[in-house]
Amino acid sequence: MIKKEMIAMLLAGGQGSRLGVLTAKVAKPAVTFGGKYRIIDFPLSNCINSGIDTVGVLTQYQPLRLNTHIGIGIPWDLDRNVGGVSVLPPYEKSTNSEWYTGTANAIYQNLEYMETYNPDYVLILSGDHIYKMDYKIMLDYHKANNADITIAAMPVPIEEASRFGVVVTDQDSRITEFEEKPEHPKSNLASMGIYIFSWKVLKEALIKLKNQKECDFGKHVIPYCFENNKRIFAFEYNGYWKDVGTLSSYWEANMELIDIIPVFNLYEEFWKIYTKTDALPPQYISKDAYIEKSILGEGTEVYGQVYNSVIGTSVTIEEGAVVRDSIIMQGTVIKKGSVVNKAIVAENVTIGENTQLGVGEEAPNVEKPKIYNSGLVTIGENSVIPDGVKIGKNTAISGETTPEDYPDGMLPGGGIIIKAGEDE
C-alpha cells in the first residue's frame, strides 16, 4: 500500500503578468533568480529539505521551460520509486473539461493524484516566492493544535497589509477573522499563500465547492472552512520571504543577494537550494576585467566591468562593456563597449556593440506604467539589440530589433518595442 504522511501541491501555472516581457514566454516560477536558480527551486528545495518527497507541480501557462527544468526531479532528489515529483497540467475529461480556473479549482482537478498517496495532510504552495522554510515544523505545529488548516503568515508593515490576505488571531493563534485584500486591515499578519490542510477537510471543501467559478483558496476555500467552524491556525513566520511578483521587487530581491552578508544567505551549508545545472565550467575573468560587489554563475566570461550586479550562467561580457546595478540572465552576450545601467536582461539576449541601456531621465512607460517603472530597462529573452543604440529608463524590449526600430538611434524613456516572435 502507498502511504505518504504529507504531500505537497505546488501551484506553478500562473503567468505573472506583472513581470512584463520576462514572462512573455515562460511561467513565472521558471524565471531565473540569483544567478543560477529559477524561482521554483526555492519551494522545491524547501520540500526535500523538509522531508517531503512527493510533490505535484500544477502547470498551465507556458510550461515548456518548467517541464524541462523539473524533468524527473533529479536535481532535488525527487526522482523516487514511490512519489517524487509529478508535473500536473490540466487534461481533457469525458465530461466537463476545463483549464485550471483558480488555485483551488486546479487542486480539485487533481483529487485523484492526491488520493493515490493516501495522505493525512496536504501542503499547498505557490511557485513564486523566495524563502527558506521548514514545512516539517509547520506540520508539527498543525498537529499540536489539532488543526484542520494551518496558514503560514508573516507580519508586514500595516500600510502594505491591504495587498495581502490578512488574518486576525486570538491568543492561541487560532484565526478568528480572515480578510482578503482588505481596504482597512485589522491586523498586519499577512497570509503567505502556504497552507497545510488535513486531507479530509481539504477533500470535503473542494468537492463542496466544485461548482464555484474560479475557485480560489483565499477567496472561497478558506472562508468556506471558516464558516463551517473548522480549526484554522496561523503559523507565524519571521524569516526572509519575498514575493517577486513585480519587476521592482524582483530586482530588489536579486540585489539583496550581493550584500556583504546577505539577509537571504545562499552560502550556508544548511538548507541548500538545489537547481538543474546547465553549466559546469568555472567562470573566467580576464586580465582587463574588473568585478565588484556582484555574484556570477558558472561558465560566465567577463572581459569588461561589472558592478553591483547579478550575472547568470554562461554569460559573456566583452571588452570595454560596463554593467551596473543589473540582472543579466543565462546565455546573454553583452558586446564590446556597451554600457548597461539598471537593467533586467532575460536569457539568451544579444546586446550589440557600443549600446547604452538606462540613459536619460525617467519617463512613465507609454503603455504599461504600472509594470515598467522604477527606472528599469527590461529586455525579454532571445531579444537582439542592434549596435550603437541608446535606450532610456522605464522601457521594455522583446524580440529581434533592428536599427529601424530606433528612430535617431534611440528608444526614449518610457518606450516599448515588442516584436512578434518567429512562431507567431
Binding site: T277, L280, P281, D288, E292, K293
Partner: protein, 373 residues
C-alpha cells in the same frame, strides 16, 4: 554498443609528492570544476560506451565519493552502468592489484560476462577529449590486434616518464620503450588501448599463468612482434597530470582561451558531479585578473593568473598570484600566496606568506579546521 570501457584509476605516483597523500591521481581536481577522471568518463559516455568499469586501489576514498552516483556521466542505466572494482579477498586470491594486468585478471568476470566484442581501456590521469569510436574504426580498418593511442610530445624534458613508441609509416608499432633513461623517441603512449575482448581475456590469462602482472611490460612489449599492434595518433590537446609540475601546468593551460573554449564550449561537454553551490561572490575589494573561479567562492582580495576551485574564501587585502587553490579552502586576511598549490579543505591564517618558485610550485598543506565546514 560495440565496446565496454575500463578505466585504470588505481595508481599513485611519487612525483605527485604530498598531493597524493589525500587521493588517487584520478580524483585530482582539474580546471576549477572537474576531477581528472571526469575526462575519461565523459569520453566514454560521449562515445556511447554504456558499460564502464573503474578499477581503483590507492587511496580511493575521494574517488569513490566522486563516483557515488553514476548519473552525472549518464551511466545509471539498465543497459550497462558504472562499476567500481577495488581489490577484494576471494577464495583464490588475497592480493592487492599487483599491476595493471593483474587488476584486469582479478576482475576477469566483468570481461567474461560482457558480450560486447571490444574493450576500450583508458587511464584516469589524462586530460583530453577523444571519441573512442574513431580509435575503434581505425583498429578495425588496420585489422589490428591491439591499438594504442599515441601522442607526439614537443616537450622533450618531460618525456621519460611515459612509454615511448616508434611506428612504421603505416602505423604499426615497431618499438616500445617504457620510461627509458635515455631516448630519442618523442611519441608517447597515452594509456588508451582498444582490443578485442576475447583476445584480452586470453592475453590476461596467459600472463597470470606466468605470474606476470603488468599490461605494458608483460603484454604489449612481449607481444609487439607476435601481434599486430598499431598506434592511433592523437592530434588534439592531451596532458597527463601525474607529476606536480604537469598538474600545475595543466591547470594553468585552462587560462588560455583556445584550450578553455575547446573543453568548455565545443561539443561534446565534459561532465562532473554537481555540487549545488551558489554563484561565486565578489565583494568590495575583490580584484580578479586572468583567473578561473568556480562556484561557491567568496572573494575579497586580489587574484591574478590563478585557478580557484569550488568554495574558496579569499580574505581582505589578500593576494593570490600564479597559484592553484583547491576546494573548500579558507584564506584569511592580508595573506600573500604566489606560485603555490594550496591543498583542499585547509585554512590559511591571516598574514601568512607562501611563495614558491616560478615553474616549481610550492605545495601548501594547512590542516586547520575549515571555517567553511
Amino acid at each position: 554498443m560495440r565496446a565496454i570501457g575500463i578505466i585504470l584509476a588505481g595508481g599513485n605516483n611519487k612525483m605527485m609528492k604530498e598531493l597524493s597523500n589525500k587521493r588517487a591521481i584520478a580524483a585530482m581536481p582539474i580546471a576549477g570544476s572537474y576531477r581528472s577522471i571526469d575526462f575519461a568518463l565523459s569520453n566514454m559516455s560521449n562515445s556511447h560506451i554504456s558499460k564502464v568499469a573503474v578499477i581503483t586501489q590507492y587511496n580511493a576514498r575521494s574517488l569513490n565519493e566522486h563516483l557515488s552516483s553514476s548519473k552525472w556521466w549518464d551511466f545509471g542505466r539498465k543497459q550497462g552502468g558504472l562499476f567500481v572494482f577495488t581489490p577484494t579477498i576471494t577464495a583464490d586470491s588475497s592480493y592487492w592489484y599487483r599491476g595493471t594486468a593483474d587488476s584486469l585478471y582479478q576482475n576477469l568476470h566483468f570481461l567474461k560476462s560482457s558480450h560486447e566484442p571490444y574493450v576500450v581501456i583508458a587511464s584516469g590521469d589524462g586530460v583530453y577529449k577523444l571519441d573512442y569510436n574513431k580509435v575503434l574504426e581505425y583498429h578495425i580498418e588496420k585489422k589490428a590486434d591491439i591499438t594504442m593511442v599515441v601522442k607526439k610530445l614537443d616537450d622533450k624534458s618531460d618525456i621519460k616518464r611515459f612509454g615511448l613508441v616508434s611506428m612504421s609509416p603505416e602505423g604499426r608499432i615497431t618499438e616500445i620503450d617504457e620510461k627509458p633513461i635515455e631516448t630519442n623517441l618523442s611519441t608517447a603512449s597515452i594509456g588508451v588501448y582498444v582490443i578485442r575482448r576475447r583476445l584480452l581475456i586470453e592475453l590476461i590469462e596467459k600472463a597470470a599463468e606466468e605470474d606476470r602482472h603488468d599490461f605494458v611490460k608483460d603484454i604489449l612489449i612481449r607481444y609487439k612482434n607476435l601481434k599486430r599492434i598499431y598506434g592511433y595518433k592523437l592530434e588534439s590537446y592531451w596532458s597527463n597530470i601525474s607529476t606536480v609540475n604537469s598538474y600545475y601546468k595543466t591547470n594553468m593551460d585552462f587560462l588560455d582561451k583556445d584550450i578553455r573554449n575547446y573543453f568548455f564550449k565545443e561539443y561534446p561537454d565534459i561532465y562532473s558531479k554537481v555540487d549545488d553551490l551558489p554563484p561565486a561572490k565578489y565583494n568590495y575589494g575583490a580584484n580578479v585578473k586572468n583567473s578561473l573561479v568556480a562556484s561557491g567562492c567568496i572573494i575579497n582580495g586580489l587574484v591574478e593568473n590563478s585557478v580557484l576551485f569550488k568554495k574558496v574564501y579569499i580574505g581582505n587585502n589578500t593576494v593570490i598570484k600564479n597559484s592553484i587553490i583547491l576546494n573548500n579552502t579558507y584564506i584569511g586576511d592580508n595573506a600573500y600566496i604566489e606560485n603555490c598549490i594550496v591543498e583542499s579543505n585547509g585554512t590559511i591564517k591571516a598574514n601568512t606568506r607562501y611563495v614558491g618558485e616560478k615553474n616549481e610550485p610550492k605545495i601548501v598543506i594547512e590542516n586547520g579546521v575549515s571555517y567553511l565546514s
